[in-house]
């Protein structure tokens, strides 16, 4: 849930990057962190294993500027993608305002993508959210790899409802800011609707 502070004139929103293990969620945040002006970002926190797999979450606070005299701040989180960290994923989804689903384009990761998307749907429902009614963007990542499936195929399997989607190569940053802008916009539009 967004937090509106009339006293300090700030809007705070929470965006969660979801997706299967190794799909590139942490890489998305690292790219945003690397390319953002120091005054617009806070420290990036990564709670990771020794092998750099996300253990609990990554966190990156960003300020986007003002809207109607309110400072807009976005808190970006990633979940741990590995299947057995489901309890942690549920915790991180609490209070979410918008979700980015990062899919791994590699053909052999298709099942993992579908499983993770289903898991997202279930975990959101448990908290009373409906994925089809909330700000949601899909990113087809790792487009640079030779074994990437055609986008049409990914779309058919992962995006039957026609949500906003982008192709990306998080490793080089391609598509990363497009994805972030799209989800931030959807979150702000939702804020406008719900008020």
């Amino acid at each position: 849930m967004s937090f509106i502070n009339y006293s300090s004139r700030e809007i705070n929103c929470k965006i969660v990057y979801y997706g299967p293990g190794l799909c590139g969620k942490t890489t998305n945040l690292q790219h945003v962190y690397g390319k953002t002006n120091p005054e617009a970002k806070g420290k990036m926190i990564s709670l990771a294993t020794e092998t750099e797999r996300t253990l609990f979450f990554d966190f990156l606070p960003l300020s986007l500027g003002e809207i109607r005299g309110f400072k807009t701040r976005f808190h970006l989180y990633t979940v741990p993608g590995q299947v057995f960290y489901d309890a942690s994923r549920k915790l991180i989804l609490k209070g979410v305002d918008g979700v980015v689903f990062v899919a791994d384009s590699q053909v052999e990761r298709m099942e993992a993508n579908m499983e993770s998307l289903e898991n997202l749907d279930i975990n959101l429902k448990e908290q009373g959210y409906d994925l089809s009614k909330m700000p949601f963007v899909i990113q087809y990542n790792k487009r640079d790899l030779p074994n990437a499936a055609p986008v049409e195929e990914l779309r058919k399997l992962l995006n039957p409802n026609g949500s906003t989607d982008y192709e990306a190569c998080a490793a080089t940053g391609e598509g990363v800011f497009e994805t972030l802008k799209a989800i931030s916009k959807l979150v702000l539009i939702e804020l406008k609707k719900s008020h």
């Binding site: 967004s2 937090f3 807009t72 802008k181």
Partner: protein, 161 residues
């Protein structure tokens, strides 16, 4: 949606700030801050200069979420107080009215006993404020007038230019 929107107004912000300023003094604490369960900082007091309060807020909420998950696994509703002891500084974390998290950082000039006592005293005061805030936000949401209804697509686009 499941949990109600958190909203803060001037009046309550001042009240909360006064209460935690007092707590900082009476508990001989270094820093006191209040965070919502989603990790957003609500208010802070004490020696916060040079302290990354945004990160502290997010990690505190993660900590409470993780221990809350542990509590459920063993059949508890939640652990309402957490204490972390360091070499120099200590952290006392408590949940207020099941909604927000109160964090006290203190060193050797204070003690766990004193902090517990003072935290207990202000908890009810804070709980009352957050309950009234929740009611106010609900009433506001129903009445439907808010500055955000006026946001235009251009306003949103401008953020990204």
């Amino acid at each position: 949606m499941s949990n109600p929107q958190l909203v803060m107004y001037d009046e309550e912000a001042k009240q909360i700030s006064a209460i935690i300023d007092r707590l900082t003094k009476e508990a001989n604490a270094k820093v006191v801050f209040v965070v919502d369960k989603n990790g957003q900082l609500i208010s802070s007091s004490g020696e916060t200069a040079g302290l990354d309060t945004t990160s502290l807020a997010s990690l505190t909420a993660g900590n409470i979420a993780a221990t809350g998950g542990l509590a459920k696994l063993i059949g508890e509703k939640e652990f309402s107080i957490l204490f972390h002891e360091g070499e120099k500084d200590n952290l006392h974390i408590s949940i207020i009215a099941q909604r927000v998290i109160l964090v006290v950082i203190f060193g050797s000039q204070s003690s766990l006993g004193l902090v517990r006592l003072r935290v207990k005293k202000v908890s009810e005061e804070l709980a009352k404020i957050f309950e009234s805030l929740a009611r106010k936000a609900e009433a506001e949401a129903e009445s439907g007038d808010s500055p955000f209804a006026e946001i235009t697509d251009d306003d949103i686009d401008n953020l990204f230019n």
